[in-house]
């Protein structure tokens, strides 16, 4: 059963109803001041249930990247709250947010995910190394096997293909068993085949390892791998789609005038 509905602005989700991995409540984000100010997030509320694969879509400038940056503690809100688990990000210092990113979140960016001087394995264990602890060997082995990186661990990023590099980035994002993995256009720089492959991996990470993944994308095909798609326009959620298919995503996008 799938539904599609317009969510009225300002609707507050009932926090106690689901186990949420992260959420935004009445999130406001304004860039600049006075006449030149731009509203990136407009009283946006969103709940990201644990163990789900959520895709965030929207036209350029809709605020989807800003939303993700704020949820991930890379950027701060002008008003409202974002939280990861029970932690309100607004109350954290820069250092505490850094440690939160290190210990409780994972990241995959569109490109330039890896430090060129470190091997694939060293890149994967970087968050653990930064925390000064050894990664859980069993989990590391699971992740490496899942992403099919066993043969590539001693290679430098320059010796890997684009798809392999992104898989290393996913493995890096997973190494600390994060509460949420944020992926910003992870397939944007990949060819179709590698992109599909990466999306399958992300899907299986959610299905088989029980991870929570949030992905920003503008590719309807990529969004179709998610459990739920959230559509943003002008900093507000305008549509939500559960169990999406490529066609239905396209249909919503068409409706939203893209």
């Amino acid at each position: 059963m799938t539904t599609s509905r317009l969510q009225s602005p300002g609707t507050t989700l009932d926090a106690s109803a689901v186990t949420s991995a992260a959420r935004a409540v009445h999130a406001h984000k304004v860039y600049g001041e006075g006449d030149t100010s731009v509203v990136a997030l407009d009283d946006l509320s969103l709940d990201l249930p644990a163990g789900e694969f959520t895709a965030i879509m929207g036209p350029s400038g809709s605020g989807k990247s800003t939303l993700m940056h704020c949820l991930a503690g890379l950027d701060t809100l002008t008003a409202g709250t974002v939280s990861v688990g029970d932690t309100d990000l607004a109350s954290l210092t820069d250092r505490e947010r850094t440690l939160l990113r290190r210990d409780r979140l994972g990241f995959v960016f569109q490109s330039f995910n890896l430090l060129p001087t470190l091997t694939a394995e060293e890149n994967i264990t970087l968050p653990a190394d930064l925390a000064g602890r050894a990664p859980d060997p069993a989990w590391l082995a699971t992740v490496v096997a899942k992403l099919d990186l066993g043969e590539r661990l001693s290679h430098r990023p320059s010796e890997l293909s684009g798809g392999q590099q992104q898989r290393v980035a996913v493995a890096r994002a997973l190494v600390n068993r994060p509460e949420v993995v944020f992926a910003d256009e992870p397939t944007g720089a990949l060819d179709t085949k590698s992109g599909t492959e990466l999306l399958r991996f992300l899907r299986s990470v959610v299905d088989e390892l029980g991870q929570t993944v949030v992905m920003v994308t503008h590719d309807p095909g990529a969004a179709a791998y998610a459990d739920r798609v959230v559509f943003l326009v002008d900093g507000a959620i305008v549509e939500e789609l559960t169990a999406p298919t490529r066609e239905r995503v396209l249909e919503v996008m068409g409706r939203l005038g893209e």
């Binding site: 940056h69 850094t98 990113r101 995910n113 001087t117 470190l118 190394d129 930064l130 925390a131």
Partner: protein, 844 residues
């Protein structure tokens, strides 16, 4: 293209400043040295010009050879005073007066010697003919007349608080005497002649107290109105006996200034060597900076090439950028140098060296050299990077390449190790053979060249070593960054290597010198007490030795004097020693011949000098004294242990006195009568020479301690001068780090995004800096230690008999280098930790 180059320059002001500073320091050193020495020469010039302005012709003995003014005081053989009459009778002479000069140490009212640091203390006669006094004039009182009167210079009067009518005691070569102060003299505007103290008498008194009764050092002549100085000089010359010459006053002043110029020349050369080290380091910094810039701008250059810039234009563009930096740093360096020279001059006057007021002398030569050095060093250093830039292919504009450092080629690697091994072997051989100064320098340079080649390999090796650390990962990331751009890291470190090589070599040499001095004193000395002039005094009156000989508690007294002379045409110091008791006060380590054979007409030669000259015991050598002329002398013996008294040639005292007018002892060596306690003896002798406050009484332990202290002092000064080079190297590290941080913005942002704290980012940059500093320090200290050992062995003739490696000092240098690395990283690390995570990740 020119506009493009210049715009590049202004993009990053901090980088520009650091790059400029790297060369400016060296140029400032060079121009400061020139300005200082030129100003001093100019001051001397004006001073001598003023002093001799009333003198048209000067008559003095012909110098047998150009003697070194610093060892002989420029003194010539005195003339019989009858020559004054001879000259006075020459037609056209309005006035002729003899003059004498010599040692005269003035005591203040408390009996303390007035002894300016380094400047001479001299006595002379005041001319009766006022015109011939030139700029020297009596400011207060009158000219001295009679055996009990003197005048002093205004600075001395001021320092001691003397007034006309006071009683003033003066110590001479042969004793002390008290006079009535009748006048105070000044020299134009200045109070003293370059800080020297002057005691002025009438001629007969001066002749007597200076030990020159019936003699004059020179005759000063004033021509009648309208008589040409050169013509008069020629007329006077015809009347003079053999070996006496006449020169114009102008010529005499020029000669005097020339000798000052020569003496300053050594000082200038030494300073220029230090400046050279700083410039060498600076050129490495420039080379490296341009390498980095070219690497970072590859895409930009490729784009220029793609839109039609020729290779020549790219090459020219980089060189124009370098040349602009060179010119600006040359000009800046000149300004700083002039300021430095003025500051040092003020400092000198504060410590009592009164340099006549004159404007700073900025020769066109100084300006040209400053600009040329700035321009040259920078441009030459940028040639290679410019060539690399010119070879960038247009295609690179289209490719997405991160400026990754290139590794070094196999050829470079192999050749580098070969050169390094050759240099190191040569150093070892030099150290083994000893006495190979130039080979040691050549071997050190070769080894350094090898280091330049293998530097990247060493950097990678060090990076591999440091990269093993797992925990935290900051060491590993720092090590990988060093390893990634090993050429850049090596070039940065090499700047520090140069500085530390020299510093370490100097430290090893100094430590060896200190221990050798201790060894010489304990091994060669047999005297109980050694009397020396206090501070920078010129010597001890010979009357002190007479006083000692008269005492019952003193057994042997040996006076030691030294003077500049030539032996078989080579300029050197000749030592005069009393032969009686010589064997009791010192062990000269006679190798061939017998010490007891030393007598008039004979000479002792150190075995190394004998080897140099190719003479053996029984041969003859020709010894020429500036005053006494040339004599054939028989080599009576050769000796090994002359270093204690710094002697290479030793003649007996009668020969020395026949050829050298000065009766000042450089030292007196004595033994106490049997059964006298050392401390008692010292106290007794100190009381006995209380009338001569310029004499210090030392036990052998005092001598050792003082010698070690003076070596330490010299080491301190030299190290301070070399620190400039180290400062330039630090600028280089800061520059490299700043550029690296700039080019790694995205990496740093990523690191922050995945959970690297600001402190961790700072740690990565800091450790990178420490690794580079360590590389520079370890190679520099290793090379410097090896070079220092070889150098110490090369200076065996100068008395370095023991080679000591000051491990603690060297370890301290290593620690300082690490600290320097941490300090150099402060700014860049801060900047790295402030990287805006979002912007760095979303840009591009």
């Amino acid at each position: 293209m020119l506009r493009f180059s210049l715009r590049n320059l202004l993009v990053n002001k901090l980088r520009l400043l650091l790059t400029l500073a790297a060369v400016t320091v060296g140029v400032a050193f060079v121009s400061g040295t020139y300005v200082l020495s030129d100003t001093m020469v100019k001051a001397f010039d004006e001073l001598y010009g003023g002093l001799t302005s009333g003198t048209d012709v000067v008559v003095h003995a012909e110098p047998p050879f150009e003697a070194d003014v610093t060892t002989t005081g420029g003194l010539l053989r005195p003339l019989d005073e009858s020559v004054v009459e001879t000259v006075r009778d020459v037609p056209g002479v309005a006035a002729a007066e003899g003059s004498v000069a010599g040692f005269a140490l003035i005591l203040d009212a408390q009996g303390k010697p007035i002894q300016p640091g380094g400047a001479p203390t001299f006595g002379t006669n005041i001319h009766v003919d006022r015109a011939m006094s030139g700029a020297g004039h009596v400011r207060e009182g009158r000219v001295p007349s009679g055996p009990d009167e003197l005048v002093v210079d205004a600075q001395t009067a001021d320092k001691a608080g003397f007034h006309v009518g006071d009683q003033v005691t003066v110590i001479f070569e042969r004793g002390r005497q008290t006079f009535t102060l009748v006048g105070i003299v000044g020299f134009g505007e200045t109070d003293s002649i370059l800080g020297a103290t002057l005691a002025g008498f009438d001629l007969p008194t001066a002749q007597h107290v200076l030990g020159k009764d019936g003699l004059v050092d020179e005759v000063d002549v004033r021509a009648e109105e309208g008589v040409d100085a050169a013509a008069l000089r020629d007329r006077i010359a015809e009347e003079l006996p053999d070996g006496v010459e006449a020169v114009t006053g102008e010529q005499a002043a020029d000669d005097a200034v020339q000798s000052v110029r020569d003496a300053l020349g050594i000082f200038t050369t030494v300073l220029l060597v230090f400046a050279g080290v700083a410039l060498l380091v600076g050129s490495f910094v420039i080379w490296n900076t341009f390498n980095v810039l070219v690497a970072q701008r590859r895409r930009e250059v490729a784009l220029l090439r793609a839109v039609g810039a020729t290779r020549r234009q790219v090459l020219g563009g980089v060189l124009v950028e370098a040349a602009s930096i060179g010119l600006v740093s040359g000009a800046l360096g000149l300004l700083v140098g002039v300021g430095l020279a003025i500051a040092i001059r003020s400092l000198l006057s504060v410590i009592g060296v009164d340099i006549p007021t004159t404007s700073p002398a900025i020769d066109p030569r100084t300006v040209v050299v400053a600009l040329a050095v700035g321009l040259g060093v920078t441009t030459v250093a940028a040639v290679l990077p410019a060539w690399v830039a010119a070879r960038v292919a247009p295609m690179e504009a289209l490719r997405d390449v991160v400026p990754a450092g290139r590794g070094s080629g196999r050829l470079r690697h192999t050749a580098g190790w070969l050169v390094l091994a050759t240099g190191a072997t040569a150093l070892a051989v030099c150290a083994w053979i000893g006495n190979q100064r130039w080979w040691t320098v050549a071997a050190t340079l070769t080894t350094f060249l090898g280091l330049v080649f293998v530097g990247p390999s060493l950097a990678r090796w060090l990076a591999g070593l440091a990269g093993h650390g797992r925990r935290g990962g900051a060491w590993r990331m720092a090590a990988r960054n060093v390893g990634r751009n090993s050429r850049r890291a090596a070039a940065t470190a090499l700047a520090l290597t140069i500085g530390l090589t020299v510093v370490a070599a100097v430290a090893v040499t100094a430590a060896s010198l200190k221990d050798s001095v201790s060894e010489a004193v304990s091994g060669g000395n047999r005297s109980d007490l050694i009397l020396e002039p206090a501070g920078a005094g010129m010597g001890i009156s010979s009357s002190v030795a007479d006083l000692l000989r008269a005492r019952d508690d003193v057994e042997d007294v040996v006076e030691l004097r030294e003077w500049g002379a030539q032996v078989d045409g080579r300029s050197t110091l000749v030592t005069g020693l009393d032969t009686v008791g010589l064997d009791q006060v010192i062990d000269l380590g006679v190798k061939t011949g017998r010490l007891s054979d030393l007598a008039p007409g004979r000479i002792l030669v150190s075995s190394t000098k004998a080897d140099d000259l190719g003479v053996v015991t029984g041969d003859t050598v020709v010894v020429s004294f500036p005053e006494g002329g040339s004599h054939e002398m028989l080599v009576a013996a050769t000796f090994d242990k002359g270093s204690l008294i710094n002697a290479s040639y030793i003649v007996s005292m009668p020969d020395f006195e026949d050829n050298v007018g000065s009766r000042l002892d450089a030292a007196i060596l004595m033994t106490s009568a049997p059964g006298i306690d050392a401390d008692q003896a010292k106290a007794a002798i100190e009381r006995a020479v209380a009338d001569y406050p310029n004499v210090t009484v030392n036990t052998p332990a005092d001598i050792t301690r003082e010698a070690r202290q003076s070596v330490d002092q010299l080491l301190g000064i030299v190290t301070a001068l070399l620190l400039l080079a180290v400062v330039v190297a630090i600028l280089g590290i800061v520059n490299t780090l700043a550029l690296s941080v700039l080019e790694r913005t995205r990496e740093l942002g990523l690191l922050r995004a995945v959970g690297g704290t600001r402190a961790q980012v700072r740690a990565v940059v800091r450790r990178e800096s420490v690794l580079m500093s360590l590389l520079g320090a370890v190679t520099g200290i290793a090379l410097g230690t090896a070079a220092g050992v070889a150098l110490a062995r090369a200076l065996a003739d100068e008395g370095i008999t023991i080679v000591t490696i000051p491990t603690l000092t060297l370890l301290a240098y290593l620690a300082v280098a690490v600290l320097v690395g941490i300090l150099a990283a402060l700014g860049p690390a801060r900047r790295a930790s402030k990287v805006d995570v979002l912007r760095s990740l979303t840009a591009e």
